[in-house]
């Protein structure tokens, strides 16, 4: 079970067309531009990358909210485009802003009922039992205190628990968590992440955890995928990646994690110069080359680096490891 592939993404592209006056083609925003990965049953995977690198677009494409421009997504070996509504029940979605993710005019019971009603799950009593079950699972207890409440009556952490409850109410096999804690108070972040981890382990869920914050990664996930400018640049198990980052971008990213050591107060941290490239018009070759200190002229700025398996399970797209 553990080794079976749950979802596999092959050469996925999602381009958005830009138009002037509604009909003149200007170009494409290449939000996801050739991404390959697998998530196995019961495996949590972290996608990390800075804002605007295409993480959320990737999440929405996995969820089936966007149609891929090119490439394919296979869920348990079947093409996603052919799965329809059945697939919706197999994936849970946890969003960034818990308050926005809950319809303000529905109470907790109704919010949890909706997915079951839409997917015609169970009878009335079974639904009610399931609602109580998931509320207990996300530790909104006593259930009676929460079941009739509206989202604005709950705290941010409680709201996010309701969102998690909703995402698992249909017994999905995969969870897509798009920055689930970045809008929460620091005090509840760890709690929510531990809850998520507990839920994931209890049900053996595959999780795609999307974040820009590497410091939360260690609570979670087996592997880390580093995304830069619409591409995955490095894929490795968590410990391996943190102890031995290979891609220059990953190294820079890890360096940027604040370390609570008083000695660091006056230490200068080196940041790669420049800014991430425009996805409308990305640079040729390696997309990181304009900012890279290890630039190999004539190679990095001309040819797209393929994926090299440096160690078993540790892949990197960088010419340095040719």
């Amino acid at each position: 079970m553990q080794d079976q592939v749950l979802i596999s993404v092959r050469n996925l592209h999602k381009w958005f067309e830009l138009r002037k006056w509604g009909f003149i083609h200007v170009g494409f925003v290449r939000a996801v531009d050739g991404v390959d990965f697998d998530i196995r049953h019961g495996e949590a995977v972290t996608f990390v990358g800075e804002s605007g690198c295409g993480k959320s677009t990737l999440a929405r494409t996995i969820l089936g909210l966007y149609q891929p421009t090119k490439g394919e997504i296979l869920f348990q070996g079947k093409k996603l485009q052919k799965l329809g509504r059945w697939y919706r029940a197999q994936v849970g979605y946890i969003q960034q802003d818990p308050y926005g993710a809950l319809p303000p005019f529905m109470n907790v019971r109704r919010i949890l009922l909706e997915p079951m009603v839409i997917n015609r799950r169970g009878t009335r009593t079974e639904r009610e039992r399931r609602i109580r079950e998931v509320l207990e699972e996300v530790k909104l207890t006593p259930v009676e205190d929460f079941i009739g409440k509206f989202p604005h009556m709950l705290s941010g952490g409680q709201q996010q628990r309701v969102v998690i409850a909703r995402s698992i109410v249909l017994n999905p096999k995969l969870l897509v968590a798009d920055e689930p804690v970045s809008m929460l108070d620091a005090s509840v972040r760890v709690e929510i992440l531990q809850l998520l981890r507990g839920v994931q382990e209890a049900h053996q869920l595959g999780v795609a955890y999307i974040t820009h914050d590497l410091s939360t990664v260690r609570y979670f996930s087996e592997r880390i995928f580093v995304m830069y400018a619409a591409k995955l640049v490095e894929k490795a198990p968590v410990k391996e990646l943190i102890s031995n980052p290979l891609h220059p971008y990953t190294q820079a990213l890890l360096d940027a994690i604040p370390d609570p050591d008083p000695e660091n107060a006056h230490k200068f941290k080196e940041v790669p110069p420049g800014e991430p490239p425009s996805l409308l018009n990305p640079p040729p070759g390696c997309r990181f080359h304009p900012r890279c200190k290890h630039l190999i002229e004539g190679l990095c700025d001309q040819e797209v680096p393929p994926e090299f398996e440096v160690k078993p399970g540790h892949y990197v797209s960088c010419w340095l490891y040719k």
């Binding site: 909210l65 994936v91 303000p104 839409i118």
Partner: protein
């Protein structure tokens, strides 16, 4: 749903809303009373009935309660029927009999009656009876008139229009018979004795007579130029106004929201079509089209209501709703709903539309009086429903018969008061709902 109930509970905290609710309850009670006591078909029959239905009512009489407000004693219609008469029968021959009916009328009013009439109800085979009226005033003067042969089973002898009598009395009978000879502008109070002599010429023949002294006041609301009881129209105006106002407002609000939601949700050409239709609708004036429908097709209030809703299916408020929906459609919870499989219709009706309900309700309530007034304006323009009694119809009749010029103020004031009351009630409730649903408007 619970939110709506809570809101309703909350508006009871505002005195203005309580006044509004009270007014609305009154109008609703009036409407319910009308529908229960006078069925729809009956209301139409009464209102179209004309003279035959209302013959015993005075013309353009003020409401009876006016009597309590004026120092003069006004007159209610007096009908002296067979049971009020003393009947004497004398057999004159084998075939001929003389019938004498004696009526007494105690006249106390300070005003003259508006009309006088005698109704003869006779039964005969071939030869009609002959009759004569002898009127004896309280001061002993005696007038004999109406020597005639009543034709048909029911014969109306309108004393006030008897030209010979007018000529011989040198004045209107209803004034001369009741005035004080010494002070012609005053009435003579006391007991009038009216004797009707009739000769019947067949053994089976018989005759009854009624003396009708038409008053100057009538009922709760008075009468109009066709002797119709205005109270009927005031009563039935309530359910019709409510049905028209609520129906139009509800239909137009709901359809505009649905179209706005569909346009905003699907976007693209669907949105473009809805928007262009809205803009076309915004430059088409409603009133002239309704006037044309009224002139060339049908004046039925229900047809007008259907045309009004049809014309406004896509109202200008579509623009406001669309603005909200466009914002709404990008919210994470809609995305979440799509991720767990909600389809288009479910998203439109369960996720988009509930969001605007709070501020749609006040505008829905506030729009009701506008449509009530629209119906009244159409009626005043002569395009009211010809069969149904409505408030607007009353105003229209009053206007075309110079009610204000002749001093029939009640005829204009009563429907106008009810129209304004309805508008006022809905406005009070609407503004309070606005405060409840949009807390920004609350006074500090």
């Amino acid at each position: 749903m619970r939110g709506l109930l809570a809101a309703l509970k909350e508006i009871t905290r505002y005195p203005s809303a309580m006044v509004g609710l009270f007014i609305l309850a009154f109008i609703l009670a009036l409407a319910a009373y009308a529908v229960i006591t006078i069925p729809y078909g009956e209301a139409i029959r009464l209102w179209r009935g004309g003279e035959a239905t209302w013959r015993y009512n005075p013309r353009t009489a003020a409401p009876a309660w006016i009597d309590y407000l004026t120092p003069k004693k006004l007159l209610r219609t007096v009908i002296l029927g067979p049971e009020d008469a003393q009947k004497e029968v004398k057999v004159l021959s084998e075939r001929t009999r003389r019938l004498i009916f004696t009526y007494t009328l105690d006249y106390e009013a300070d005003v003259f009656p508006s009309e006088l009439a005698v109704v003869f109800k006779s039964q005969y085979e071939k030869k009609p009876p002959r009759v004569e009226v002898i009127w004896r005033t309280p001061d002993g003067r005696e007038f004999s008139f109406g020597r005639q042969i009543p034709s048909g089973k029911v014969h109306w002898y309108t004393v006030s229009q008897d030209r010979d009598l007018i000529a011989s009395l040198r004045g209107a009978p209803e004034e001369v018979l009741f005035q004080d000879p010494n002070a012609p502008e005053k009435t003579l109070k006391g007991i009038h004795t009216i004797t009707i002599k009739a000769y019947v010429f067949e053994p089976e023949a018989d005759l009854e007579a009624e003396v009708v002294v038409y008053g100057t006041v009538y009922g709760i609301a008075g009468t109009d130029h066709l002797r119709r009881d205005i109270w009927v129209a005031l009563l039935w105006g309530a359910p019709i106004a409510l049905a028209f106002g609520l129906g139009a407002s509800f239909g137009i609000t709901i359809s505009s929201i649905v179209f706005a939601a569909i346009g905003a949700w699907f976007g693209g050409w669907v949105d473009a079509v809805v928007q262009r239709l809205t803009e076309i609708r915004m430059v088409i004036p409603t009133l002239p089209i309704l006037i044309m429908v009224g002139l060339f097709y049908s004046k039925s209030i229900w047809v007008i209501l259907a045309v009004l809703i049809g014309l406004n299916l896509i109202e200008s408020t579509v623009k406001q709703y669309r603005a909200v929906f466009l914002q709404e459609k990008r919210t994470p919870y809609i995305e979440a709903a799509r991720s767990y499989g909600a389809r288009h219709l479910r998203i439109i009706f369960r996720y988009l539309i509930p969001r605007v309900i709070p501020w749609v309700i006040p505008s829905f309530v506030l729009a009701v009086p506008a449509y009530v007034f629209l119906e009244a304006s159409l009626s005043v323009l002569g395009l009211g429903d010809p069969v149904l009694p409505t408030w607007g119809k009353l105003l229209s009749d009053a206007f075309s018969h110079g009610a204000l010029y002749h001093g029939y103020y009640y005829w204009v004031l009563e429907p106008a008061f009810l129209l304004m009351l309805t508008g006022f009630g809905f406005t009070l409730i609407g503004y309070t709902l606005d405060k409840v649903f949009n807390p920004k408007l609350r006074e500090i």
